[in-house]
Every structure is written in structure tokens, then in C-alpha cells.
């Protein structure tokens, strides 16, 4: 077998067998399955929860029914109970756990409802806000009644403004489509970001480990350093694809199983119902390119390190680049067509995320992603040529310091003079 493939499979299989790889993959899978079933899990725990029970002391004598009526429309689980005793007695029952809280209803000077809510803690924000909006609606109706507004006038007052958004561009996505795209792009951006950071880091660690254990010297006495470097990058790349395919596959199927329970939820709004194949293909392509770019960078930086502890120091700038790209992409999710995003999406270190984001969100003319990809590919090739030179010298370079100055030394070492 060709030596390239021997190293390729050796890297791939060895990483696959490591405990840390298996453990992280299993844990991530569990998290994904848990997230996909989050609705079922919440429901399971909520079965026990019969809803809050609230004692109402109605000093006005007439507000209890209207409030109960309003609250039904907001949260069916809240149970209101008319309480006949005085406040001290009610407070005691709250302390005993018979009620979750006491709501005292009264009128103010203007003859409008007013209320005090007392409970052990006021940490249940959801309950308080439900009560508040119930009271608010009740108050509005009463005010309207006092002002002699008819039900019809009232309806008119509350009717929402209709704002239609029309895109003039022929192929522009509708608001609904944009929302759908946003959700998917957001998730895939995250995947690209994390995957590139993780696997690029893995490459740098691999190279540094081989170098610090000096096995590198034996390897490059059998195989050209360049061949060895790319076999390694591809080996880890295959591992990454396998892991991502596993994670995304499990995510897809467990979401699909639970799609019924999510109907009408944000999952539907954000377009996980039917996933556009084009976006997925672009995601795959940009992940691969982004990986090659950053892995090449990580490989030759890793080759400069003499001790494993120094890896982070040299890899940090790469991670900063990725974080900056990711931040810009997050901004771009809201403003995908801003000129700033357009320009930065052609910068090769950012385009794996930004160009993908634009392709996913906007209807770009086909030449735009192609140009972006072309720039990216050329950069990868240039970086590979440069990186291979540094790598060849770098793997033989041992010293105390590990810094970017070593790039020059490594280049000298690989040259004839």
C-alpha cells in the first residue's frame, strides 16, 4: 500500500480508538437525543405539576370572575380559589403550602382594580407575569366600560396594524423563508465553527505529539514530510466527517421522530420541517474548505512546537480568527445583505462561515459563492505550499521558545542554504 494511505489510515484508526474521542462522541450524541426530546422530557416532569394554586381575597366582591375568565385564556394551569378569611390567615396557609400565593384585589381611588401578590418567594416570573397580564386585560375592559366604549370600538382599538413586507427583487426570500433559512444557517454555522476549531486543534496536537515524542524523526526518514502532513490532515478530516455525519444523522432522525410534538413551535418557524438540500451541500463544502484551510495552518504551526504545552500558544491566533469570523456571521444573520458582510465574505479566513451564511440566507448569483470558493481554494494551495516548507524544517527544530519567529528558522532549515 502507498505510504500516504498507510499514514492516513493509521491516523484515522488511532484517533478513532482513543477513549477521549469515543467518550466525547457518545456524550454529544446523548445531548443531541436529549435536546430533540426536550418537549417530552419537560412534559414528563410537568405531569406531576398540577399548576399553581392561588388564593384570591376579593375585597371588591366582583373582580374574581372576570379575572378567572381572563386568566383562562393565558394559562389554564393556574387555579384560582376564592378565599374568605383575612390576609393573615391566607399568609399562614401559603406558608403551610396549601396555596402558592395570595392575590388581594381591591379598587384604587379612580375605581380601577389594583392588586397585591404575596408568596414565599417571587422567583416564579412566569406566574407573576401571567397574573399581571390577566389583571391588565381585566383593567382595560373595565376602563373601556367606564368610558362607554362598545365592544366594537374596543376591538378596533386593539386590532393590530397590518405591515406587509414585499421584496422587490424577484428571487428574494420572503420573510417566512428568511426565518426558516436563519434557523438552519445558524445551526450549521455553529457546527462549522465548532468542528473547524476542534479538528484544527486536533491536528496541531497530533503533530506536536509526534514531534515531542521524536517519532517524527523516524516518520520523515521513511516518508516525505509533505506527504506525511497531508495524510494526517486527510486522516483527521475523514474522522471529522464521520463524527459529524453521525451527530447530524442522529439529530435529524430524532428530530423527525419528535416533529409532531413540535408543530407550531419555533422548530417549524425556523424551518427544520423540510431542509433545503442546497444549503446542506454548501455547508458540507464550506466545512471541508474551512477545515483544510485551518488544518494546514494548524499543522505547520504545530510543527514549530517542541513541547505539547506550547501548542495552545501558537494555535490561539487561529482560534481568534475563527471567533472573529463567527461574530461577524452572527451579526450577518440579522443583516445578511450589509456591505460589510459582503466584503468580508471574500476574505478566505472568514468565507467558510460568511459566504456560507450569505448563500444560505440570500439568493446570491451563482458567481458569488464560486468566486468565494475559488479564493478559498487558492489560499489553501498557497498556504499548503508555504506550510509544507515550514513543516519540513519545523519538525527538526527543537528549542526552548516556540514562537512565530521560528517560522523563519524552520524555512531556513528546509532550504539548502
Amino acid at each position: 500500500m502507498n505510504k500516504f494511505w498507510i499514514i492516513f489510515f493509521h491516523t484515522f484508526l488511532n484517533k478513532l480508538k482513543t477513549k477521549s474521542f469515543i467518550v466525547t462522541t457518545v456524550i454529544t450524541l446523548l445531548i443531541i437525543v436529549a435536546l430533540a426530546n426536550i418537549m417530552n422530557i419537560i412534559d414528563y416532569f410537568n405531569k406531576e405539576d398540577k399548576g399553581e394554586k392561588i388564593a384570591i381575597i376579593d375585597e371588591t366582591g366582583v373582580l374574581f370572575e372576570p379575572l378567572q375568565y381572563q386568566l383562562k385564556g393565558i394559562d389554564k394551569k393556574i387555579q384560582l380559589e376564592k378565599f374568605t378569611g383575612d390576609e393573615t390567615k391566607a399568609d399562614k396557609q401559603v406558608q403551610n403550602g396549601d396555596f402558592d400565593g395570595v392575590l388581594v384585589l381591591s379598587y384604587n381611588q379612580e375605581n380601577l382594580p389594583e392588586a397585591t401578590y404575596r408568596s414565599l418567594t417571587i422567583s416564579d416570573v412566569a406566574l407573576v407575569s401571567s397574573l399581571e397580564s390577566g389583571l391588565q386585560q381585566m383593567k382595560t375592559q373595565m376602563t373601556a366600560y367606564q368610558m362607554n366604549l362598545s365592544q366594537e370600538q374596543l376591538t378596533k382599538l386593539y386590532e393590530p396594524v397590518s405591515l406587509k413586507k414585499v421584496a422587490l427583487e424577484k428571487d428574494a426570500k420572503t420573510e417566512e423563508e428568511l426565518n426558516q433559512a436563519r434557523g438552519l444557517v445558524y445551526v450549521l454555522l455553529f457546527v462549522i465553527y465548532f468542528a473547524v476549531i476542534m479538528y484544527a486543534n486536533m491536528i496541531a496536537m497530533e503533530v506536536a505529539t509526534e514531534k515531542s515524542s521524536r517519532v517524527m524523526e523516524i516518520l520523515i526518514s521513511s516518508v516525505e514530510p509533505i506527504k506525511q502532513m497531508f495524510a494526517k490532515i486527510l486522516g483527521i478530516g475523514l474522522l471529522g466527517l464521520l463524527q459529524l455525519a453521525l451527530l447530524l444523522g442522529v439529530a435529524y432522525f430524532s428530530l423527525k421522530q419528535n416533529i409532531d410534538s413540535m408543530e407550531g413551535d419555533f422548530f417549524e418557524v425556523y424551518g427544520f420541517g423540510d431542509i433545503p438540500v442546497g444549503t446542506l451541500i454548501y455547508a458540507f463544502l464550506f466545512f471541508l474548505l474551512g477545515y483544510f484551510l485551518y488544518a494546514t495552518l494548524a499543522a505547520f504551526l504545530g510543527s514549530l512546537v517542541s513541547r505539547i504545552e506550547d501548542v495552545n500558544q501558537l494555535v490561539t491566533p487561529i482560534i481568534y480568527l475563527l471567533i472573529i469570523g463567527f461574530m461577524i456571521a452572527m451579526f450577518g444573520l440579522v443583516n445578511p445583505d450589509s456591505p460589510f458582510i459582503t466584503v468580508t465574505s471574500y476574505i478566505p479566513f472568514f468565507s467558510p462561515m460568511l459566504m456560507f451564511m450569505r448563500v444560505g440566507m440570500l439568493n446570491l448569483p451563482i458567481w458569488e459563492p464560486i468566486l468565494g470558493i475559488a479564493i478559498l481554494v487558492v489560499t489553501i494551495i498557497l498556504l499548503a505550499i508555504f506550510g509544507a516548507k515550514v513543516y519540513k524544517g519545523g519538525v527538526l527544530l527543537y528549542g526552548k521558545s516556540s514562537s512565530f519567529k521560528d517560522i523563519k528558522k524552520a524555512m531556513q532549515l528546509s532550504k539548502n542554504e
Binding site: I6, I218, S222, V223
Partner: protein, 299 residues
């Protein structure tokens, strides 16, 4: 047919690690590289292996330049242990042998043979980091010879080994030579070089100080060691003409003299003065030659 090193120099910026080195290492012999730390031994090895390009000059192996087309025929044991600490011995040795073009089956078979020879067959499924330094060195040695190289380069092969294992490894080296392997090795330990090498060279600061066969080198050095054990005071010999160095031992005196004629004259001088229990003229040891040649240029 041999390993030819012709006018090889290697410069790192202003620093010259190897300076115009020319050597011819005949096939099926053992060649020793001697030199103080930083003399350029490892750099020379790296150039021979093609890990580094020489600044000038060239290296040929059987008439062909050394590069990755010949690397399958070359074995290398680096000065520092170079193995994956977390991988099992068998796994990584088979991997390294396959990188030298060996098939998996052959590599596994050979590996068992070597482990048994070194009396450590139980290490096959152990991780390298679990082994002691000396045992790691054995594994490292196996890694360099598993693919039956015709040229074997050993950089400090005996460091960190106990005397029994040194003998085990020495015998292996000698057997490899018998079966036709050309072996180049470096060491700080003169006795290893004396026992193993037909030819050797002494490097100092990148330059060859001395080279040739062990016999020639010793003869041309001229000076000899004279050991005298006597019952009377012989310390006056320290000042005797022709004596270059002397050291008093519990039983007598050891002198470094310029030639046999000095010994003759000392013998005549001492006879009759008392009882002489030992009067021996010895070849200089490689250690003496090394200290003389390398030490001189230090001063």
C-alpha cells in the same frame, strides 16, 4: 559500492555544523563516529538520511543519491527515543515497518522473532510509556532493523542500557554486519567503538580530526602507554626525556611515551634498581587518542 560522503558542509546561518566532511564507508562494515557533544554527528546523520539537505557536497549510497526512493533500505535509530508513547509496541512497530515498504504479515513475524531475541516477547501488547527506558531503547532498536535495512544508522544506540543489554545489542549489531548490513554508529563510549568498528572518524566542531581504520589510527598515533609496577620509587620517570604524560597508580606508574625507543631506554635505566613486577608497553586506547585530538583543539 559504499556510502560516499563527498565534501559535505551544512551551515545554519553563520554557524557551520558540518565543515567539508568527506568519508567513504565500505559496504558490510561497521563505521564509528566519535565526537564531543555538538561535533556535528547528528547533523551528518540527518544529511545522510536526507532529512536535511547539505549546504554543499553530496551523499551517495551505492552510487545513487540518498532520497526517499532509497529510504526503504535504510534504518535509523535517532539519538532520542522516538516512539508513540501511548501506542502498543506491536501496533507501532508494524506501522513503522510498513512505512518502510514491508508487508503487515512479514512485519509481525519479524517482530516476534526480534522480541524473543531480546527476551521481551511479553512487551508486544504493552504501551511504550509503560516500559523502562532501557526496554524502550530495545524497542527503538527493533524499529530501526525490522525491515532488514542494508544501511543502518545508529545514533548513540547504547545509551541508557545496562551492561547485559549492551552486550545483547552489540551482538545483534555484529550479527547484522555478518548478514551484510552496513552500519554507521555514533557513541561517546570509546570502548564500544573499539570493540565494534573497523573504521572510524573523530569529528570536532564539524571538522574531521582523524579518520581511518582503527589499526591505522592507533599506529599512526605513535605514542604508547607504558605501565610499570615496581617495589622501589620510580617517580623520577615523570621527568624522563620522551615522557609526555604520567599518572601515579596505587601499584606504580602509567606513562605516555613518544615511542618504543623511549620504553627501551627506560627499561635499561630501571633494571638493577630493584624488583620490577610489571613492565608493559600497550597500544594507546581510543580514549587517549580522542582526548588528545579533541582536547587539543579545546585549549
Amino acid at each position: 559500492m559504499a556510502l560516499e560522503i563527498e565534501h559535505v558542509s551544512k551551515r545554519f546561518g553563520k554557524y557551520t555544523a558540518v565543515d567539508d566532511l568527506s568519508l567513504s564507508i565500505p559496504e558490510k562494515t561497521i563505521f564509528g563516529f566519535l565526537g564531543a557533544n555538538g561535533a556535528g554527528k547528528t547533523t551528518t546523520f540527518r544529511i545522510i538520511l536526507g532529512l536535511m539537505d547539505a549546504s554543499s557536497g553530496n551523499v551517495t549510497w551505492n552510487g545513487k543519491p540518498v532520497d526517499y526512493s532509497t529510504s526503504d533500505r535504510i534504518g535509523y535509530l535517532p539519538e532520542e527515543r522516538g516512539l508513540y508513547p501511548k501506542q502498543k509496541v506491536k501496533e507501532q512497530l508494524v506501522f513503522l515497518a510498513r512505512l518502510k515498504g514491508m508487508s503487515k504479515q512479514d512485519a509481525e513475524k519479524e517482530l516476534i522473532r526480534w522480541l524473543e531475541r531480546f527476551k521481551v516477547p511479553e512487551y508486544a501488547d504493552k504501551k511504550v510509556e509503560e516500559l523502562s527506558k532501557g526496554n524502550q531503547q530495545k524497542i527503538q532498536f527493533i524499529a530501526s532493523v525490522l525491515h532488514e535495512p542494508s544501511l543502518l544508522i545508529l545514533d548513540e544506540p547504547f545509551s541508557g542500557l545496562d551492561p547485559i543489554n549492551v552486550e545483547l545489542l552489540k551482538q545483534a549489531v555484529l550479527d547484522l554486519k555478518e548478514s551484510g548490513t552496513t552500519i554507521v554508529f555514533s557513541s561517546h563510549r570509546m570502548e564500544h567503538v573499539e570493540q565494534l568498528c573497523e573504521n572510524l572518524c573523530i569529528l570536532n566542531k564539524g571538522k574531521t580530526v582523524l579518520q581511518g581504520s582503527l589499526k591505522e589510527i592507533k599506529q599512526s598515533f605513535g605514542k604508547k602507554n607504558l605501565i610499570i609496577h615496581a617495589d622501589f620509587d620510580i617517580s623520577f620517570l615523570k621527568e624522563y626525556p620522551g615522557v609526555r604524560k604520567s599518572s601515579v597508580t596505587p601499584e606504580g606508574i602509567q606513562l605516555q611515551i613518544e615511542g618504543e625507543e623511549v620504553a627501551d631506554s627506560i627499561l635499561k635505566e630501571t633494571v638493577g634498581r630493584g624488583f620490577i613486577r610489571k613492565f608493559a608497553l600497550e597500544e594507546p586506547s581510543l580514549n587517549d587518542i580522542f582526548i588528545e585530538k579533541v582536547g587539543a583543539s579545546y585549549e
